[in-house]
């Protein structure tokens, strides 16, 4: 089981409390699709992903970015049980969506870069450590049901 200090809980809750889900979700997913273009393979039905500009203007991608970020809410509300909380989502990504779990790590890294830009100097070393710990638990839970 993952152990969280009070500071870590407070940091992570703090980030989510002040988060613009639409903005950060959209930016993180767009950045992932642009910086790691092979991730576009999962978005064949999402319309025009021709270049960075069209990706960033794509409303389906924007909407999906928001969906993904709200998915993190579940982990936030169940921090002591993320593995079980994501059991179904993990099976979905494995059995139905067939997403290579390494992509979760790529998206998580892009989220970190976007949050860093948003928070600037407020993204302290401790904040980054807590945030990345949280994301790594989520990424691990999402990959748990793959076989």
């Amino acid at each position: 089981m993952v152990e969280w200090t009070d500071d870590e809980r407070s940091i992570i809750n703090g980030i989510f409390a002040n988060l613009d889900y639409d903005e950060v979700g959209r930016k993180a997913l767009c950045r992932c699709l642009i910086v790691y273009p092979w991730t576009q393979r999962y978005f064949g039905g999402f319309g025009n992903l021709y270049n960075a500009q069209t990706i960033m203007a794509n409303p389906l991608i924007a909407k999906h970015g928001t969906t993904i970020l709200h998915g993190l809410d579940r982990a936030l509300k169940n921090m002591d049980n993320i593995k079980e909380t994501y059991s179904e989502l993990s099976m979905l990504h494995s059995e139905k969506l067939h997403v290579d779990p390494d992509n979760f790590r790529l998206l998580a890294d892009c989220m970190t870069v976007v949050i860093a830009a948003k928070l600037g100097s407020a993204f302290s070393i401790d904040t980054q450590a807590a945030w990345q710990k949280f994301l790594s638990v989520v990424v691990s839970a999402l990959g748990r049901q793959y076989h």
């Binding site: 642009i34 960075a52 970190t112 870069v113 976007v114 860093a116 928070l119 993204f123 980054q128 450590a129």
Partner: protein, 143 residues
Amino acid sequence: MSLSVKQRGVVRDFFQVISTRTEDIGADALSRLVAVYPQTKSYFSHWSSTAPGSAPVRKHGQTIMTGVVDAVSKLDNLKDGLLSLSELHAFMLRVDPVNFKLLGHCMLVCMSMYYPEEFTPKVHIAVDKFLNQLALALSDKYR
């Protein structure tokens, strides 16, 4: 995943923009590396302190960043340009190359923090590719 001519220009331009703060970025990036990935402290057990933000960590972060900035000037042939550094890392330091990726990520985070407007996705992909090429050149002599 080699850099196109255009992307090399993007990298050179961005490093010009950040030139006044590369020391801070380097110091901050190494501090974040040891905080976020504590296993990396294993390479620095001989220092008086491996705490994030401590003097030895910050100083060494600056040293590394100076190397990165120098590599930008050797963008067109990193393998030859980084030959002696590669030998150093291969035969003396023997840093597991997976750690180059981790430090690269921390550098990208610092660049994004310090230059949120300039660190666009276009710049991000070019710099990420450059850091990956740098890491490859650095590990060239490993085996």
